[in-house]
Point group: C2
Chain length 345, copies 2
């Protein structure tokens, strides 16, 4: 320890401030936490002492004493996928004004990975925890449930949440997108998905596709699996061309896949939407830029993150009547990749 021994902005503690302001340590703590039971005069004296000494409260010690750390934990599959990272971005923006910090972990798309991160995080006593999706190991559910803190499951509006779920219906969105392809005159709509992980969001989209097919009395098994990458989308397109020549519409489970397929169409001179109507999912920025622009479903991950922050704040404040199931909805974005007839000028 010592003067500059990793003590943030100095080794000055609350006792030093108290001495300097000629008050008790308790009083300093009170002004720090905005207690009303302090005279304006003494408050000023304390504030002055804080300024002069450059005092910075030790939030670790506060966390121990108050049994409240001001930290929320967040777990997403990977940080590199913007759709998940932007949820965190929204949470950061919503929580920063309240002095709440976020610790981040990645599950690597695996239940086991998630379990280990949850375990490690709970030992740090966060005030709340956010996890992506609704599929977790039994032990993870148990850990979370008995943690005693608010648990927010995000992105997919599933039944049977651990505590609170904030998201949208992947099933409904996928069904709507599929139905839209059929409504635009397509007769044979395929679906491209992936299955490298136990991911309820992707699984629900597949079910949405199948439901839309069955509602029209059409076969619901025109789907193939690939890897979730641009190249995976291109590969899937080639497979469809080879295997199902009758297909005239494709619903890709992510924009990444759809964009990869669009590029493959460009390379092969296949006209979109004339030959294939194509839609994706997520409304990544690239969806509006690619040629032709991509029809897709928009979620608004940042605002979802902000909503999550709101709920966490309310729960931490102790408000009991917070919704346990919040639907942030989705929006179908219609662009050229899925219109029929000649392209707009």
């Amino acid at each position: 320890m010592g003067i500059a021994g990793k003590n943030g902005a100095g080794a000055v503690r609350i006792a030093d401030v108290a001495r300097h302001a000629d008050v008790g340590a308790g009083t300093v703590s009170r002004v720090l936490n905005g207690s009303p039971n302090v005279t304006a005069q003494t408050r000023e004296r304390v504030m002055a002492a804080i300024q002069e000494l450059g005092y910075v409260p030790n939030l670790v010690a506060r966390g121990l004493a108050a049994n409240r750390t001001g930290v929320v934990a967040a777990i997403i599959p990977v940080l590199g996928y913007a759709q998940h990272s932007e949820v965190i971005q929204g949470m950061l923006e919503g929580l920063k004004p309240y002095g709440i910090t976020v610790m981040i972990g990645s599950s690597g798309y695996s239940e086991e990975g998630e379990e280990r991160v949850v375990e490690a995080f709970l030992a740090r006593r966060p005030d709340a925890i956010y996890v992506t999706g609704g599929r977790h190991s039994a032990r993870t559910r148990e850990l979370l449930k008995s943690s005693g803190i608010p648990v927010i499951e995000g992105s997919n509006l599933h039944d049977n949440p651990i505590d609170t779920v904030i998201g949208y219906s992947n099933f409904d969105a996928a069904r709507k997108l599929t139905a839209r392809l059929f409504a635009s005159g397509r007769k044979h709509v395929a679906h491209v998905t992936f299955s490298t992980d136990p991911n309820d969001r992707i699984a629900d989209r597949l079910e949405g596709y199948r439901a839309a097919c069955r509602e029209l009395g059409l076969p619901d098994d025109l789907f193939i699996e690939t890897t979730n990458s641009f190249e995976g989308g291109a590969k899937a397109l080639r497979t469809i061309l080879d295997s199902w020549p009758e297909v005239d519409g494709i619903f890709f489970v992510t924009d990444v896949l759809a964009v990869g397929a669009l590029h493959e169409c460009q390379r092969r001179g296949i006209a979109v939407p004339e030959h294939f109507a194509i839609c994706g999912f997520d409304d990544l920025p690239i969806a509006a830029s690619v040629v032709p622009a991509l029809t897709t479903a928009r979620i608004g991950p940042v605002s979802m993150g902000r909503k999550i922050a709101e709920v966490i704040l309310a729960r931490i404040k102790g408000e009991a009547d917070v919704d346990k199931r919040i639907d942030v909805g989705f929006q179908i974005i219609e662009r050229e990749s899925a219109v029929l007839g000649p392209k707009p000028p």
Copy 2:
């Protein structure tokens, strides 16, 4: 508090374990921290007690007592931009095996935002801190310097680091890309940049472009500013077409801009690389997918993050002879968007 009052996996403390195993609290702490000074026999007894009671150490209390939190702080401009998020992903992967957690913050591309996050983070006593780039407010530098913890500045290999810098030379990479465009036979190479923030990486790329121009005795002022988005790239391309009809090569400061421009070329039927040789920067996944595939510079943000983790671990362990300046290098990725002559078959 109480039995299930937000105490993680239960309210059992180290004293409970000690009692259950019939040893002292210190001994439990020793086995927890892997001290060699424990008999295998007592170690087992303690481990058994931990198991039976479902004890989970309170890392907040440990942090206070040990003056070592096992947390590292990381600040990036925004979470939604993959290039930055993936650095964090690499850090997570490198630090997780050592039980170290990452708290994340975003500066919003502003020095003031960064300063506030740094301030908030230091109060939580992280064991180390990572910040993006080398441009910071004077107060941020001062806070960081006097924090007493390892400070890693990342991404841009600048001079005058606060403590340690890990990255690559944006200047060199940009110069090399520009020179490559000239070497492929282009005579008028423009540069598209943006300036919405005090970003040393982008500024250094501009300087690299200008240096390459001057080395050939060519004008170094064919650059324009736009916003860093697909649409921004498209807009810049239109501006160049209108203003500088002689331009036959464009170095876009990010892949996002370059891809936006490539899409605009597709819309307008402009042949790339025949009309324009184009290159970007970052080697985002989209760069290999777009048509034509994009020549760009690759950094490897994930492995850079792992390198940062390594350095942090070494510094935390107290190793004094850790490099203060680590060049992770870059790689020019040659693809079709910048070759001359007929495109490959």
